[in-house]
């Protein structure tokens, strides 16, 4: 246990020195502020409280931003140690590889949680300041917060796996960006295109829901929009997926962090210093 906490402490300190902590928080806070300001015009027409509307916008934002921040923090985790030449020495210490990885995960997850909490906190304060009814949206904000942390954990694990497989920071960075584009942007576009071509057939009813649940980012979006009262405020893929039960998307966002970490450990075990 001390080995894990010691690793987490050192990783957190490194992230602090490298300005990763400041950058993650600034990025989340800035986007949350912009969304709060932009979301203010939409009230009234929807009939939901201010915060629920903001949560709906924050969900769409988090789908892009949280995986990006997580991948940016994690892509260097193992490749960086390999390139600096610090890995061989580290691996001769009594700490096991899962322990080392868990220490890194704890530190990075703490930073991500901090960034998400501050970003969403700003949005909540802004909404509550102008709309007393916004208290009704607090539960969906809370749900967004912990599910964002789980989404971050998933992409941290994926980032570690990429880092271990690439073994070079530059390669890992390229892979991480490619994966982010693929899973977050192109995946949904591909599904939409398939739905249009399928025109309500087998793909739309059977394959599409499964494909959404298989992607951690889509499952995250589904869960938050389906569980929130503000579903109607959101457009896009979620509208087509109303048939997917909440427990299914919840299961997906709970299982993904574990699966991603297991993949990361398996990839890390293959690294020979």
């Amino acid at each position: 246990m001390t080995r894990i906490t010691a690793t987490a402490e050192t990783e957190f300190r490194i992230a602090l020195r490298n300005r990763w902590v400041a950058m993650s928080i600034a990025m989340m806070a800035l986007f949350a502020l912009v969304l709060s300001a932009a979301g203010s015009s939409a009230v009234g027409t929807i009939g939901a409280d201010r915060l629920s509307v903001v949560v709906a916008s924050l969900t769409s934002l988090a789908v892009y931003l949280v995986p990006l921040v997580a991948l940016l923090m994690s892509f260097d985790a193992i490749a960086g140690e390999v390139e600096r030449g610090t890995l061989p020495l580290l691996l001769t210490y009594p700490a096991s590889r899962p322990e080392l990885l868990l220490g890194k995960l704890l530190a990075h997850l703490a930073i991500l949680t901090l960034a998400v909490a501050i970003g969403y906190g700003i949005a909540a304060v802004a909404a509550l300041a102008v709309d007393a009814d916004a208290v009704a949206g607090l539960s969906s904000l809370w749900r967004l917060m912990w599910s964002s942390v789980l989404l971050g954990a998933t992409f941290l694990g994926i980032g570690y796996a990429i880092s271990a497989l690439a073994r070079r920071s530059s390669g890992a960075a390229g892979l991480a960006i490619g994966l982010w584009l693929g899973l977050i942007v192109l995946y949904d576009l591909g599904l939409l295109a398939a739905i249009i071509a399928d025109n309500g057939g087998y793909f739309t009813t059977k394959v599409f829901p499964a494909a959404l649940l298989a992607n951690p980012a889509d499952a995250f979006r589904l869960y938050n929009l389906a569980a929130s009262q503000a579903t109607s405020a959101a457009a896009g893929v979620s509208g087509a997926a109303n048939t997917i039960p909440v427990w299914a998307s919840l299961t997906s966002i709970l299982l993904w962090p574990i699966a991603a970490f297991a993949i990361a450990i398996a990839a890390f075990r293959k690294v020979t210093p």
Binding site: T5, T10, I14, T86, P88, L89, T92, Y93, A95
Partner: protein
């Protein structure tokens, strides 16, 4: 006494290339052993196998009574990599505190360790600002954590100035006196001559020689060289008396085996006044080392 380290017929191949061929070595507690070899001779490979960082193909290997790389073995082994590297954003103190925690020791011992390697002044500076020699000292400080039974040091004195090098060997003497076994690698015999109990020479993955420096000197059986300078005008006479000598400039060069040394010396001294000066050159450490390295290359 059970050996701290025991290798039996250890073999490691990379594809078609043999990195190590049936290497057998044992190291007893408190013994200081130097591992010598050219670049690519298999030193680093052997060390990494001992540390459990890379697997081996066949043979038997016991590290502190356990299989290499197991939690038990790693608890008793300290390692100093060649060109020790650390995260540049951390200070020396933070880095050593981290390593102490990983070994389950109290982080408060960090300052003491850094002072032992002469880094007390720079402890709170970031490692990114350190010189190569200072990084090497951080690396050395972390090998002193706990009470390692085996220290594996890959070219530990590279980057150290002669004074630091002497301090370093004094530190090792203290550790060995406490019962720690030390396996250190080097590519120069001159660096390790007086400071190790035993020398192993690796060449092309084969263990080509093993023993104390005196043993190696005897086994190498290299000739001794004499440089004889005749007095002015006596050159022709001396050349006649020493027909096997090779003349170059104003001096004559002769060589003979160890056991012929006194006889040759007697012949030269018989020439008395005709000799101005004589210079006897035993084989250098580099000659001895070169001799063994070359043999295996054939």
């Amino acid at each position: 006494m059970t050996p701290t380290l025991s290798l039996q017929c250890l073999t490691k191949t990379y594809g078609a290339q043999r990195a190590l061929s049936e290497v057998s070595v044992t190291v007893a507690p408190g013994e200081r052993v130097a591992l010598l070899g050219h670049n690519g001779a298999g030193k680093s490979t052997m060390m990494k196998i001992i540390l459990g960082l890379i697997p081996f193909d066949s043979g038997d290997l016991q590290v502190a009574g356990a299989a290499p790389g197991t939690a038990e073995a790693r608890r008793h082994v300290a390692y100093l990599p060649e060109n020790a590297a650390f995260h540049p954003a951390l200070t020396g103190l933070e880095q050593i505190r981290h390593y102490l925690s990983l070994r389950g020791e109290s982080p408060s011992l960090a300052m003491d360790l850094l002072q032992r390697v002469g880094l007390g002044q720079a402890a709170t500076r970031r490692i990114g600002t350190y010189s190569k020699g200072m990084r090497q000292r951080v690396g050395l400080a972390q090998t002193l954590i706990g009470k390692p039974r085996l220290l594996v040091l890959d070219e530990p004195t590279s980057g150290l100035d002669p004074v630091s090098r002497r301090d370093f060997y004094e530190l090792l003497d203290g550790l060995a006196a406490d019962g720690a076994s030390i396996l250190l690698s080097s590519h120069a015999l001159t660096e390790v001559e007086a400071r190790t109990d035993r020398i192993l020479i690796l060449s092309g993955g084969h263990l080509v020689a093993e023993g104390s420096l005196a043993d190696l000197r005897r086994m190498a059986a290299l000739p001794i060289t004499f440089h004889v300078s005749p007095r002015q005008g006596a050159m022709a006479e001396v050349v006649l008396a020493l027909p096997e000598a090779i003349a170059s400039g104003g001096t004559l060069t002769l060589s003979c085996q160890q056991d012929q040394k006194l006889r040759l010396l007697a012949r030269i001294s018989d020439l008395g006044e005709r000799i101005a000066d004589i210079d006897v050159q035993p084989p250098t450490l580099e000659d001895i080392y070169g001799r063994f390295s070359k043999r295996a290359g054939q």
